[in-house]
Symmetry: C3
Subunit: 668 residues, 3 copies
């Protein structure tokens, strides 16, 4: 099953009519029409209304919004609303509340507040999902099911401890296997009974917070357990929905590069992926782009939904900047360029109270339609109508892949040594950015993905190497492709045990290097890399070539002259090893050399602010998105003759092609 | 009832003779006489001595100090001593100990350690107050009652939870009203039973500490509840004191701009205000001045007591600088200039042990009278004798008012969005400082105060607007006055719900502006304001004039040229709106323009280091305090013919008037 | 009893064969031989193997390693392994787990995880020690007993509270004495029953962590109690070992300048001292040197063991730099120069999993002997063989002493006021460094030590002065010696009560100064000291000479011209007082003037990077270690004719003497 079929990009977002009297709701619908809004996400936080008491259900509020949506020709993405408990449930069943990392049982408050192992929670949540499905499965407005909301967080209660032990039994089979996996002979931890195992937290294996653990293996398994425990909640709801509604696509909204959950384990169970994009507004545009591509990679390249973004500002940050004119349009079309088949906002109307009352909304507290934000939303609505179905169902024809691996992320960042300062998403983003700014289309894929479509595979900071991955990477090179990996890759197996071979472990044959030692230094220290005219920092592995040729070397210290970057011929291809955290220009140079070898530089690679993205529609039409992220016009020379879907204008190959500041063209 | 009547400014402070043998106490009294000390605050921490066991009372220690005071002609401010529990009480009744924000029941330790909802605490504290009143009501040394000490802090125990629910019932009446006030439909919080409500803390609605809450309305009500709960403790003690002593004035020592308690709710219940002044020693002199004026404003302009200040250093800070020669005198006379009718120190003799042993004292560990500090204290004592009753009972004839509102403080600082970096006291201080350095006398008043005496009303950062305030502000302008407010004003109602109108809500008609959107940026970002030759930062509201005229505009960004400061004609007066956090020179310029319009600039407004303060004695005598905060002499030209009460010297109008470095003149 | 007698410096370190299969262990022993490794520390973390269940003991793993060691001519330092609980014990007896500073009972995890007051822990730990002693007392490989591991941390459980009360009874005798010692009349803390006393932690007397306490006396006594409680655990194990093995020396590994435990209280109970050296790798070489000398001072100058150091990197830090070529050799020979009679590593083979898998090891994960680190270890092994017994049992003939006092450390750093920024080890190190870089041999001694051997006694930051110390310091000066102390010395008695005399209390007569007041300022503020051409910061005491002559004065502020450094003639000697935190060059200048007076400057005092250390072997042979800490060669002129024990080369007095970069010579 895939995302819902729609005649155009669904446009709209989270809507909470239950907070407002009817007159306000009337205004809302009038404004929706004015802004081209056709899709509403509802029911995300209505549990306390739809079930005000253990045995009382009241769906008036949802009936009303779905019926009205249907009447007005709008579609509904219907949430099960199980991400925020009603107060009575927390009071009646205290075990539905989470126990936090400090071992403290919480009481009622906030949201995302349920223990995934609580039978009372599971029972009540599935009952709600079941009733909703029964009631609305065949409602004409129903477009998709939205289970829960932004799953995340962990619980450390006794029930979770018990569930963790069960999970471990299933994963490891025997205590001997578990002891071996976790290397428990270290620090006298050899378990003789499953009951001795405690969830890793501030009262057991951790100090200085969630990243400092005495046993990486235990903590890693708790991350995996938590992923599975919350997935279990999702699956339970999905199952009861399917009992009543075999057809409507089901999703839950993800959060991009979100560390707590391994979305690759969830992906097979969603009918389509969706996610909420709240990039730091000073981040380069490749940050949300990386997340878009990661989300697209969840379902093997299938389009996803942009389930939430703010039309103007966030509220939850210490400082909440405003999206400037044009930024919303640019970000939205960037999402479409990367595979979004829906463009939804949080939120349609600003809440009057509580912690999101200053979160941006299409309709503000004064209910106006003459604000700048409303105008931009409405103009974008018109453009999406013009675009129609031209982008729906398209695919990205990438020949470059970037491996993204939650296990490596977790393992790297909970590691004691060599450096706490290396952040997995930062390393990954540096390589992603280099490739994207060079104009390459990328797939961001799990380490289990089929690698045969790709000429180039980038695998930065691949700390953990599992299964037959090394063999599959070798196969890429053997048939002429290029594989790149970096410092701190190939270090540990699936249990976070060091490989008992030379670093980079199973990747060593492909890379043709051997690493015995590594230096780590504070962030203000830099090492020069003369051949790249750049600098490096944080970690400096000392490389002994074992077949590889140096591409660049360290400029100073006792390892001056030894390789910082190497290239190893392997079959018809190459293995590249980057032994240190190069600054972005160094990463750019390395990646462009590789892309050049495979003729994968984009047509506008010399315009760093102009992003290009190719999409192939189901009918084979090839679309090229041009996105100008600069506040100045971009003066290009058209690389091909094409028509801009947004303006209908035609440009001829070799003619000037001007993009407005923050402007976009979709060339066909 | 007002402050005690005395023939001169009471001079002395906290004294703990119970810590010392008789020989030391003899030395103390000899030194007191030498330093002109006539007033002692005693009994603040004697509970473990006066009630060493549940049924044993022993007032020997207090008898001794009061009798000796009387014998030597000194007066006593007698504390009830209920701010620090005796150990046996904490052991016997564990519920007297507080449960902290993290939900942890404390055990015996520190001070300010009692749960305000504990019946055992209430019972024992009032019993103590009652016995003290019975015993000392008619003691000749008794000058004032000092209940408890520096009330503050909050408790989150089950009893407080229950008391909170009762308080809510009284405030909101029905659950429907409460649900509406807190906007609980957001995030599925609709309560169906009072028992479902939990105190907002780290285990319920909060994350990242006390300022981050999911529901501002809940947290705000807990601040108010805590204010009332501690006030209840005060009132219970006051009531039993009054039963035995109908005449002696009662106070408790406040702490100036102290966020946890809304002192405006307390003020009616004190016979006179008193407070402890411990400004950061690198703060500008307008910081303690603001606090003095706030305290004076508590009782409608009546004089207050300076209950504590250090003669030399604090101990509780990471770095405790020393008051330099002359600074103590200057600070003390500044307090008098702002309405202090007493000048008391913490402490008379330095403690030998525990956390305040390095806190400055009139008499140090060596018991000397030949230290610099003792000499300065004694010299000041002589000056206060010279001053006699000339300043007692005076009033400040201010025509400028500054609104200070705890609700706005709380609401602003617990708000999610737009910026966590805006601090209410900083914004308020900037405007206070501008007016004071321009020579205006100010009243710092609650938002419920009568505004008719004022020509200028400054209401910076008035986030919450309640009751008929907007109408009363309009009346100020209508009759020719000027009202100023700023960014982030007029945003929420008394329940922290956004107004459903254009920003600044009820203040919009007076200000003549409409604000749809606002930008927030990190502190290192500055925006130029060309017309003021200054910069602004943190928050930038985008103003659409609706009648107002621009006074100054933004210099850059997409909103360049739109107004940053506006002036709106309203009736015979004006409404000024400042849409961003101007740097101090910008605030100075705006405020001076307004004061100039009302001819409220002081005679020495061009001498920024010279503070002036006017006081009118009960007999109508007008005093002008001149305080030179610079370490260099101030060369002025006398604006009027007058006599300096401290030196007896006369200066003629137009003649040179020189103030010593850190020097003071009190001109009559 | 002293350290074990060995024919050469024991070389090797921590070894965990229980983590590995036999083939790996075979490799290990082959490599040990290749590297000259003759000593293995084993059993540190084997408890879960040697006692897999309450009634099951299994010593196979230890039998194997000891037998093989004996067979191969290696020696074993045998640990009792009681520093890391087996899981079953934590599960079966939850009270063996610690309750932390926040009052939270922990559950199984980490290491150093036992409550010192738990009867179950005590019983099981001593049973283990007893069985080990019984089994291995006469094993031919046994060289020394290593009880537990890196004792440290504190517990705050109910049992510890009870034990604390017992400890207090013994220390203070009566509640009156305790109330007086803790000055409990302050803040109403007068205890009337021992049961009212709570351990000082986050739920009682502390706020903002372990250094902020309302009652210094209580916190200080808890530090002392914890020292004694853990010492009790050590003594219990030692006692049962001695029952089976009266001869083999017993130690436990200390951690140098480790704040939690007063090692001076432990020292008499160890047969020899040993410690683990993990200096921050960017620290000057005098940091580990200070720790070496402190450890040597524990047993009155007797040699100690270097029980652990890393051959390459640590893992536990945020950033773990690599020891560069030559640094390991230099650090090891520096240890020998300061009194180490053994040179051991953590660890022989890198762990495969958990938090130390990236900690440096002699043998890495790949098991290679051709790594740089292995080569350096093996080369050093050869040098130690050459050195043989020449350095064993030697003593340092110091005429300069530095007082190091845990009580002063604790009292200074938990003090409220005058400055939280003064760190005891930093002040002590500044004076140590000055003396060492001037070439003086130093003993670092407890304040109870015999002072008669010394010409110079440095007592910086001696906050607490106990017993007859002042008299003994006066005696040093009286006979012609020099005593130096600094700001914040002589402030409190053994209970942290201020002396009721002029500062610096009992040291005032010797120093000839009186201090009434002191300023404290933030770290960025500096005060000039013109006579020393240097600056000072943090604390500025204002000195009134009472017999002393100024050596240097403050350059600015109201105390400009008053003394910052004074010298007081006393008997035939002098008392020097430094009233502020001089920058290092100022400390250097002061210390060199004092050393010069006593002719104690070293022969190479002008070469700041060249460290010298004198050792006198048991046969009277005098050895001079020359250690070049610079990465450049040091060009010296030999001050005497001598032979280098490492190279066998002879140098003649007056001839050039060149030390390689990081080079060492041991001249005889």
């Amino acid at each position: 099953m895939t995302a819902p079929r729609t005649p155009k990009i669904p446009y709209g977002g989270d809507y909470n009519p239950e907070q407002w009297p009817e007159a306000v709701r009337d205004d809302d619908h009038r404004l929706f029409t004015r802004a081209g809004i056709d899709t509403l996400t509802v029911g995300v936080f209505t549990w306390s209304l739809t079930q005000p008491a253990p045995d009382t259900y009241d769906f008036t509020v949802l009936d009303r919004v779905l019926d009205r949506a249907a009447a007005e020709g709008r579609q509904v993405c219907l949430a099960t609303g199980t991400a925020a408990l009603p107060p009575w449930l927390a009071k009646r069943h205290p075990d539905v509340n989470r126990t936090d990392f400090e071992g403290r049982r919480h009481r009622y408050g906030q949201r995302h507040n349920f223990c995934p192992s609580s039978p009372a929670y599971r029972e009540h949540a599935t009952a709600m999902a079941s009733r909703l499905a029964e009631r609305y499965a065949h409602h004409p407005a129903l477009l998709a099911w939205h289970i829960n909301n932004e799953y995340g967080g962990a619980c450390y209660c006794e029930r979770c401890a018990e569930a963790f032990r069960e999970w471990l039994r299933e994963r490891h089979g025997t205590l001997d296997a578990l002891n071996d996996a976790w290397w428990t002979t270290f620090w006298s931890h050899r378990y003789t009974d499953w009951d001795q195992i405690e969830p890793p937290n501030a009262l057991t294996e951790h100090w200085r917070g969630p990243d400092h653990t005495a046993f990486q293996g235990i903590t890693l398994d708790y991350f995996r357990f938590t992923t599975d425990a919350l997935l279990g909640c999702f699956l339970a709801e999905k199952e009861v929905i399917r009992a009543h509604d075999p057809d409507t696509p089901v999703t839950t909204n993800f959060m991009g590069t979100f560390r707590p959950l391994d979305y690759h384990r969830w992906a097979p169970h969603l009918d389509f992926a969706s996610w909420d994009s709240y990039p730091p507004l000073d981040a380069p545009p490749t940050r949300p782009a990386l997340a878009h591509d990661l989300m697209r990679g969840l379902k093997d390249g299938a389009p996803f939904w942009l389930m939430e973004q703010t039309p103007s500002t966030t509220a939850c940050r210490d400082v909440n900047p405003l999206r400037r004119p044009g930024e919303l349009r640019l970000a939205t079309l960037q999402a479409v360029a990367h595979g979004a088949d829906a463009a939804l906002y949080f939120q349609m109307r600003a809440s009057r109270g509580a912690c999101e009352k200053y979160h941006g909304a299409v309709i503000g507290h004064a209910g106006r339609d003459d604000t700048r934000v409303f105008r931009e939303v409405a103009e974008l609505g018109r453009e999406l109508e013009i675009l129609g179905d031209r982008t729906l169902g398209a695919r990205t024809p990438a020949r470059t892949a970037l491996l993204f691996d939650w296990d490596s992320w977790w393992a790297l960042e909970i590691s004691d040594g060599p450096s706490r300062l290396v952040k997995y998403p930062d390393v990954v983003h540096a390589y992603y950015r280099a490739a994207r700014e060079a104009g390459a289309d990328l797939d961001v894929i799990p380490q289990t993905a089929d690698l045969t479509p790709y000429d180039v595979v980038l695998a930065p900071a691949l700390h953990m190497v599992k299964g037959d991955l090394a063999i599959r990477l070798e196969a890429v090179a053997a048939r002429g492709g290029t594989v790149l990996t970096t410092f701190l890759s190939g270090r540990v197996d699936e249990h976070d045990r060091a490989f008992l071979t030379d670093v980079p472990g199973p990747l060593a044959p492909l890379m043709g290097v051997r690493v015995d030692e590594w230096d780590a230094r504070p962030p203000e220290f830099t090492q020069t890399i003369p051949e790249l005219g750049t600098e490096a920092r944080l970690v400096f592995e000392i490389v002994q070539p074992r077949g590889a040729a140096p591409v660049a070397t360290y400029g100073t210290d006792f390892y001056a002259g030894t390789p910082a970057v190497t290239r190893n011929p392997y079959g018809d291809g190459e293995g590249w090893y980057v032994a240190t955290a190069l600054d972005q220009p160094g990463v750019d140079e390395v990646v462009r050399r590789i892309l050049t070898r495979h003729d994968l530089l984009g047509p506008y690679a010399d315009h760093p602010a102009v992003e290009t993205a190719t999409r192939v529609a189901p009918d084979g039409t090839r679309l090229l998105f041009l996105l100008n992220h600069a506040p100045e016009p971009a003066h290009l020379t058209a690389h091909a003759t094409a028509t801009d879907l947004l303006t209908g204008k035609r440009v001829d190959q070799g003619e000037p092609l001007v993009l407005d500041p923050l402007g976009v063209a979709i060339l066909q």
